[in-house]
Amino acid sequence: MRKQFKETVMDLARHDDKIVLVFGDISVYLFQDFSAQYPGRFYNMGICENTLVSVGAGLSSQGLFPFVHTITPFVTERSYEQIKLDMCYNRFGGNIISCGASFDYAWDGATHHAYTDLSLLRLLPGAEVIQPGSRKELDALLRSQYNNGKMTYFRLSDYPHTIDTPVEFGKGVILKNNNASVTVMTAGPLLGNVLEACKGLNVNLVYFHTIKPIDKEMIRKFRNTDILVIHDAFGLYEAICEVPNISVSYYGLPDEFISCYGKLDQIRKHIGLDVDGIRGKVKGQISASAKNKR
């Protein structure tokens, strides 16, 4: 997905000289074309996430469109106050592009895992929070949102799905509508596992790439069903819960640090977010809903 980030930004920069890249010593090699072509608009500022965000805000205040880019937990959790105050409160918005979503850096352990970013950033007034699941989604959403003056957060993953979905900012996508009593809702790259897990099951399936603003109209369409949110992060469930009078439950992360290292798929299996784990949970939800209806 980072390659797509580069391709899209390269293309945008050809027509927009207000784009400025502020990187935290990551993706520098990947962007060598950009830095060679636009040396005055590419800054590897080093490992100082707080200042990256503040500098992004300052650039924005002067009419430029900053792309602040570094590793997810460091730019979101460490720099939360800079995002809150310098970008959101001051209305010096900009693009924050993180890499290393959820357990992308499985082998690096809990210091590099990132699952609070979406839930934290969606709380900030005026913020836009995007979890693109595929390269296509990233491309479309970057193009539509990068220059709107708001703090827009893009959460990149090294493990995108390849499912071709319609993309419009703020709009959820119905992938299955069986008029079923259970609706699975998910977001981001985990869609690959969720879609596979739901094969042949009598459920509805709704997918989101925009966490804030959440598509409440879409959620209301399924208010008479039992909604099961399956997500490898926090934030989507809480956003859906803001719709009143719905029945909703969460299947995803346990209340513990995951320190078993390995690879993404191994961690997903460990916490039950592999295809089998998800399928088991969805089947259980279908049975429980059927019992409740009787």
């Binding site: 200042t51 503040s54 500098v55 002067q62 106050e81 010096f92």
Partner: protein, 260 residues
């Protein structure tokens, strides 16, 4: 103390008494600095968003009352407007909201933020090849924050010669995390550093207008509570205290005694 800075201090004491708010000692240390800044930067109180203006950011946001009073002195708004300081629905909060106050370029309050924004503003103007200067005032207590030094490293690395950082060395840090020899520290970061009395307006103006090859730091040696013996002698007690009527009269008498 010059008559105009004495008047500003007296106004602040009045406002603090009425509102029950105000970081008077912290504000009193920066009056001459603020007055010197607005005396020399390019700005137009009648057109606060003038495209050619320089930008000043008060990174030590708790001195907002001082900035309000100096902005009013320069004609940004009516001095009477400040009577609502700290009140419900007032534009004038104890930390400034840039969307409400003409002349305030960034909303600050949490320490260690304004300087990072200032670095971004300076970089933006370097990119745009705009001659705008960016100035920011940080506190010595604020410099306990790691972000101050992060921002200085970035600014110096980018050789932001359009950025001036004024360091209010009012010894706030003394009872906590001490920053000894701040000028040497900034020099070690590669900045162009000068040291002045932070209550000498002529000297401050001279240093602010000097050009530099990289980030310029002015260590302004000040006194917390400057101009009022009571505040100077009891600065910890008065850190967030506002005076009653009797105390107000005493503070104003002390200011009069210090005025040239």
């Amino acid at each position: 103390m010059t008559p105009v800075c004495a008047e500003i201090r007296k106004r602040m004491i009045d406002i603090s008494m009425v509102s029950g708010h105000g970081h008077l000692p912290s504000c009193f240390s920066v009056i001459e600095i603020l007055y010197a800044v607005y005396s020399v930067i390019k700005h137009d109180p009648k057109n606060p968003l003038w495209e050619e203006r320089d930008i000043f950011i008060l990174s030590k946001g708790h001195a907002a009352l001082a900035q309000y009073c100096v902005l009013a002195e320069f004609g940004y708004f009516n001095k009477k407007d400040l009577a609502a300081y700290g009140a419900f629905m007032s534009n004038f909060g104890c930390h400034a909201d840039r969307s409400k106050i003409p002349g305030v370029e960034a909303s600050t309050g949490s320490l260690g933020h304004g300087i990072g924004i200032a670095v971004g503003m300076a970089l933006a103007n370097k990119i745009k090849k705009h001659k705008r200067r960016i100035l920011t005032l940080i506190g010595d207590g604020e410099a306990n924050e790691g972000t101050v030094w992060e921002a200085m490293m970035v600014a110096e690395n980018l050789k932001l010669s359009n950025l001036t950082v004024i360091y209010d060395n009012n010894l706030s840090h003394a009872r906590g995390l001490q920053i000894r020899n701040p000028a040497e520290r900034f020099r070690a970061f590669g900045c162009q550093v000068s040291e002045v009395s932070g209550h000498d307006i002529a000297e401050l103006k001279k240093k602010i207008t000097e050009s530099a090859d990289t980030v310029k730091v002015i260590v302004a040696n000040t006194q917390k509570g400057y101009g009022c013996k009571t505040l100077v002698d009891n600065q910890y007690e008065w850190h967030r205290k506002s005076p009653n009527a009797e105390q107000k009269n005493k503070l104003i008498e002390e200011i009069c005694a210090e005025t040239i």
